[in-house]
């Protein structure tokens, strides 16, 4: 069955969640690309969502409201602690990395030292995140290439920087920022595309809800012409989902 085979016969099952996950994924993939089926599915889902109203309402446990709000409050406090991480936008992350690298090399540029100090202060404020970003900085301080991918269309505002360190055995990785949540069962997939248009799956991951997220690639970037991020419903196989962001990349120059 190709991707544009309409799924009208399965839409009632889809709306009632009566499809097993594998078939549900097939229908969901089609809906991503087919406005006609998507509209039909939306109408049926409206009907399904009226079903809870046919139930006799039950009393809610008295502590549930406080539990929900308490968890959200904790989540908010965590986000504030992570606000230092929001300082680490791709450009600033690169600055941190460069600044730390320069420090390592013993450079004495005052502005950069101030940047390093500021960066270190920010990183100290985010104790839990510090090791991770220090690790990133160390990798970059070994030299490497970076490419920034900007989110497209409805993913505008998201982005990611692909780092390809030159150090021996150092894997390439992408530091994403402001990734949107994906629907249950879906994953983000990082692809490397060669000059002949062959797509190689380099990593699957789900967003962790934090402002930034680093993902290591399973495949070296050498020899590939483009890096791309898509949303997929399958963790293996060919690309099927929409492109969220992508960038041309070049083969890193030998050191």
């Amino acid at each position: 069955m190709n991707d544009m085979t309409h799924v009208v016969d399965d839409l009632e099952l889809f709306a009632l969640r009566a499809l097993p996950e594998s078939e549900r994924a097939r229908v969901a993939t089609h809906l991503l690309r087919c406005p006609a089926c998507r509209e039909q599915a939306r109408l049926l889902e409206e009907v399904a969502l009226a079903l809870p109203e046919t139930l006799p309402q039950v009393d809610v446990p008295s502590g549930l409201r406080a539990r929900v709000l308490g968890s959200a409050r904790l989540d908010l406090a965590g986000a504030r602690r992570r606000s230092a991480a929001s300082w680490l936008t791709p450009a600033r992350l690169a600055l941190v990395a460069i600044a730390l690298a320069v420090t390592t090399l013993g450079a004495i540029d005052l502005a950069l030292i101030q940047s390093v100090t500021a960066a270190r202060n920010e990183l100290a404020a985010a104790q839990a995140d510090r090791d991770r970003y220090s690790d990133i900085a160390v990798k970059v301080s070994h030299g490497g290439d970076t490419w920034y991918m900007a989110g497209r269309e409805q993913w505008t505002g998201s982005g990611g920087t692909l780092f390809a360190p030159h150090g021996p055995g150092a894997a390439a990785y992408v530091v994403f920022h402001d990734l949107r949540p994906v629907t249950m069962g879906a994953v983000y997939t990082i692809w490397l595309v060669d000059a002949d248009g062959r797509w190689t799956r380099a990593a699957n991951f789900t967003p962790n809800g934090e402002v930034t997220q680093a993902v290591t690639l399973d495949t070296p970037v050498q020899g590939f012409a483009m890096c791309s991020l898509t949303i997929e419903l399958q963790r293996e196989g060919k690309r099927a989902g929409p492109v969220v962001m992508q960038s041309r990349i070049g083969t890193p120059a030998p050191q």
């Binding site: 016969d9 009632e12 099952l13 709306a15 009632l16 969640r17 009566a18 499809l19 097993p20 939306r42 109408l43 049926l44 889902e45 409206e46 009907v47 399904a48 969502l49 009226a50 079903l51 809870p52 109203e53 046919t54 139930l55 006799p56 309402q57 039950v58 809610v60 446990p61 549930l64 409201r65 539990r67 929900v68 709000l69 968890s71 959200a72 409050r73 989540d75 908010l76 986000a79 949107r180 949540p181 249950m184 809800g209």
Partner: protein, 192 residues
Amino acid sequence: VTNRQSPDDRLIAALAERDLSALAELYDRYGRIAYTLAYRILGEAEAAEDVVHDGFLSAWRGAASYRSERGNVRGWLLSIVHHRAVDVLRRKTTFRPAPLEVAEQRAADDDTAEAAAQNIEHATVRAALQGLPPAQRRTIELAYFGGYTHVELAAIMGVPLGTVKGRMRIGLQKLRRALERESDGERAASMR
């Protein structure tokens, strides 16, 4: 633009801005129906509570991803809760072809109609559901509230897959017409 937003849309916008009071209001509006749904699917207070908790937290964290053109806030939230509850149920109960009576016990209460009658909202849809031929109603309830897939339903009901699909299709069409009638009635009442 703000004036054109529904109260729910404004609530979600505030939620995306990490406004805790918006989450409290969202819970006050939909906490009960969400818990009712989760409890009906799972049949256990503790598991239902966990699902509703996780569902609201998911909405809190994912409010920025809400798109009003894809459905209203109530539907978005109930979809999250339904999805999670069915997932929990399916993880807990590996399918075995249960006798139909057992499956029905899991997915329906004897006193549903009587108790639900106290809820005056959506009376038309409730009446339409109750008015469906028993086979269509059971098929829809077992799927939506019982978490059964169509293959499982065919096995426990002893009918071909096509029959399961057909019952769902006709049943949902009738419910859809009932919803449209209800919506037309509300519009007419508001114009009086």
